[in-house]
Symmetry: C2
Subunit: 346 residues, 2 copies
Amino acid sequence: SRSIRLAVIPGDGIGQEVVAQGLKVLSAALPQDVKLETRSYDLGAQRWHATGDTLPDAELESLKDHDAILLGAIGDPSVPSGVLERGLLLKLRFAFDHYVNLRPSKLFPNTPTPLAGRPDIDFVVVREGTEGPYVGNGGSMRTGTPDEVATEVSLNTAHGVERVVRDAYQRAAARPRKKLTLVHKNNVLVHAGHLWKNTFDRVGQEYPEVTTDYLHVDAATIFFVTQPERFDVIVTDNLFGDILTDLAAAVTGGIGLAASGNINPSGAFPSMFEPVHGSAPDIAGTGKADPTATVLSVALLLSHLGHGDEAARIEAAVASDLAERDAAGPRTTDEIGDALAARVSG
Amino acid sequence: SRSIRLAVIPGDGIGQEVVAQGLKVLSAALPQDVKLETRSYDLGAQRWHATGDTLPDAELESLKDHDAILLGAIGDPSVPSGVLERGLLLKLRFAFDHYVNLRPSKLFPNTPTPLAGRPDIDFVVVREGTEGPYVGNGGSMRTGTPDEVATEVSLNTAHGVERVVRDAYQRAAARPRKKLTLVHKNNVLVHAGHLWKNTFDRVGQEYPEVTTDYLHVDAATIFFVTQPERFDVIVTDNLFGDILTDLAAAVTGGIGLAASGNINPSGAFPSMFEPVHGSAPDIAGTGKADPTATVLSVALLLSHLGHGDEAARIEAAVASDLAERDAAGPRTTDEIGDALAARVSG
Ligand SMILES: CC(C)[C@H](C(=O)O)[C@@H](O)C(=O)O
Ligand SMILES: CC(C)[C@H](C(=O)O)[C@@H](O)C(=O)O
């Protein structure tokens, strides 16, 4: 498309700072003839404190009228845990049916990793984004008394599992190694587990070229640190995906580099791109935030919108920037953004 | 006590082999005047194939009549996923109210770790053992059709959370660093999360000497690989504990070394000790299984039964065995057991 209507939700803490760099690099990457229209939404902790709103209906409606959403980070210690997560971030993922939560993990050369021996890491996690324990179907009774009972219900549907599993097979089939690993805990969560495993096996018959594997989530964490090179594409439940992708980020340079896309493949709603990291209030305003995760999220955004060449240019810029980091010395958020934008346009 | 009535469930795969070494070291560690009576239970995959039984009532009753249980490993690919886990292992944990699932993680000198820089790791995870997503409260409807819905319910009670949180505070208070970290996901699983966090904060007032911390489970996995030295005692939910303790094992020498105790602190039922690893059918019978995790589980068992000196002797034996592993060259399961028994008696 020759124009991009982008909704921007900078959010809280370092969200503001990293989104500014993401937009800088996006502008540098876009061909002259692609018009970029951005509209910024004031959502997050400040707005909640001022008005009590997390995501009013009018803004949810207006967000729909965009090609994509770029989100910085949500959350602040001054807001009770869960209010902004459920009321804004998860509300968007659910309202816009972002059932593919895409999280690539790649260990770039020269990037620090806590793993000895620097294994070759290049996999992508396809995390289900609209079901599982994230549905908000829980409650409590006799709350605050010694007889309290609190529940959390994981809801899983054939519809929801099949579409994300199919998406993961397609992604695996399109990659050189063509390998897909299902991660669940089907020896304990037997009902959800059977639905996932049966769907995985059945859909797999349509992709005979894809090699498959199954791992329990606990065992998967072991392989993330002892043998991460065994993974190509991973498909998993919403909560397991949340846990695994933070661990994946940790072994591939840290959450300062981890990008994600909340994708609605049908295009019925705008997809949303965001760094995996949070709002990091401890370093907000200090210029210490690394905008690279947001910049890589912008690459996912471009690729989703069909601008594959521009996405590749951004990824290459990040790769060479990372390769020369030691020489560059310490840089501010803004300086890293400038350097990436310069590489992308240059 | 001057006699120990021990129930032994070798189970499947390498379970048989490692339990034999555990018993060898136990005998070597016990003072002459402590009588050890063992009774072995034929439970696991073979039994299930032969009779369809996982854990008949009569055997459950008879197990009660012991001071402790030593379990090897449960599970075989020939048995549908979940049958033995739910019908035997989890049935025992629930029936005997093993609400403290104790899993120490220590990086011994000279032990391999995938982490660069060999951080100083010495923490213990107190995993809740009788609630959460493990309760088996799930189901499915329209099963096997495109309209299937499958649920898994996490049940959490004030009673269940408070007793394990209190146990964790006591353990933290008894350790030099006196630090307790609660791990949950209270920004998403808000109902269970509030129960855990409120209980954690309230009970903490009784332990002013304990420093506390809270981490979301996803963030906790990051610190397990980037800064594991920050942890002293961790208390967490059944499922998060399952995931975290495999990761903890991976960074402290592998699951070949990870011990666990399923403890009923009231003593109303026998506590059960088992290596964290599974039945590893791929190496069963080859003599390649490392019995160290089982031997360390025997140390936990002794310590639970009040034989603290003998437990310490076993731990010291393991530490020196590990320190000299390179020189020892490759050894069989049996040879490692012999070496440990010799160090313990010597
Ligand atoms: C902030 C939180 C609700 C969110 C999640 O759990 O999905 C975050 O951890 C993530 O991974 O995007
Ligand atoms: C075998 C399985 C049921 C068990 C669990 O999930 O608790 C195991 O992974 C463990 O950690 O002891």
